[in-house]
Symmetry: C2
Subunit: 206 residues, 2 copies
């Protein structure tokens, strides 16, 4: 992660992701962060201007790619004439799963994302909604087309529930403890499987 062949900025972003996930945005100090990243204390303010802006950059680095992958997967699913509800769900959930399995810190970023929700920070919500809200809308359209029996309000409620469940499941917040015999990878893949099956049934309800 913080090997010497990574640039200072990259090492800072990596350490920030790690510590934001573990201790929260307020709880992660620049001193611990720069020490983890093996850079000078002043490097954060030199390269990112402030701690607040560092938070933004941590999100941007991952969400640009995640959103692109989701939209591409959705497009690919919709181009197949025989696609199912589960396929659309997979287009939404699978990129998040892949990200969570990413060798270089992706798994911790999912927890950072969940923290962002919990922070309820208006500045951050606005940033996320403005930059990545259109992705949710695309998926809502896709679900809506396959679920004509649901009115718009019902549909949005259910997508909201799925997003919440996905966030919590991927961030490993629940009571389920991974057994020692099961790898992290398989554990998360199971979570995604269960979530897709559960969410598909929930969407089809009534």
């Amino acid at each position: 992660m913080n090997s010497p062949h990574f640039s200072t900025k990259e090492r800072i972003l990596g350490a920030a992701e790690e510590l934001f996930a573990r201790n929260g945005f307020a709880g992660a100090s620049l001193r611990e962060l720069t020490s983890t990243a093996k850079v000078n204390l002043a490097a954060v303010n030199y390269h990112f201007g402030s701690k607040d802006n560092l938070v933004n950059e941590v999100f941007r680095r991952r969400l640009d790619e995640l959103s692109a992958q989701r939209l591409e997967a959705l497009q690919q699913v919709l181009s197949r004439p025989a696609h199912t509800l589960e396929d659309i769900l997979a287009a939404f959930i699978h990129p998040a799963l892949l990200l969570s399995l990413d060798k270089s810190g992706g798994s911790t970023f999912v927890r950072v994302l969940a923290r962002a929700y919990a922070e309820h920070n208006e500045r951050l919500r606005k940033f996320l909604s403005e930059n990545y809200g259109h992705v949710l809308k695309e998926f809502a359209n896709a679900f809506g087309a396959r679920l004509p029996h649901l009115d718009k309000e019902e549909l949005y409620w259910r997508i909201d529930i799925i997003a919440g469940a996905l966030t919590y499941a991927m961030a490993d917040f629940g009571v389920i403890k991974r057994r020692a015999s099961m790898s992290e990878k398989i554990h998360r893949e199971r979570a995604a499987e269960h979530l897709i099956r559960f969410a598909a049934a929930g969407l089809r309800a009534e």
Copy 2:
């Protein structure tokens, strides 16, 4: 909330709930907290020993009652011979809904609870698991009895998903914005309805 006829301890707990919800546990300082509660700075350490223990007490004050209500509702449901899966879900979700509608701070406590999930704090998780883990187990048994086709792992995954979605929905994290014409009360009741229907379908899947 912090009227003079409340005791010092009660005023501290009320202010703590409010500030923990708004700023998180690390983000809420004892100076702002005691100032809000109109008590001396040293009062927290005098009455609660430490900030960490104050966090515990904020949870205990609400969760004792919530857990009791959930278990009582569950018992009542199970005593009826013709109860449904939705009834059990309602026994779990409805007390949380009532709490979130409580006039004196209950709605903010739900957000504190959601923060606790996101914090991923080992100390806090242990406290919650030790004190309130048995409630989840009771419900797991009830669900399991009605869903014999699910093995234990499947069952726990689904309960985990439901708990996550409930926390997320009640804490108002999602994209759904309450319309101005709809009261907070009705908005949350709708959320609970949708969640029950969604979760029941998810539990019955496969």
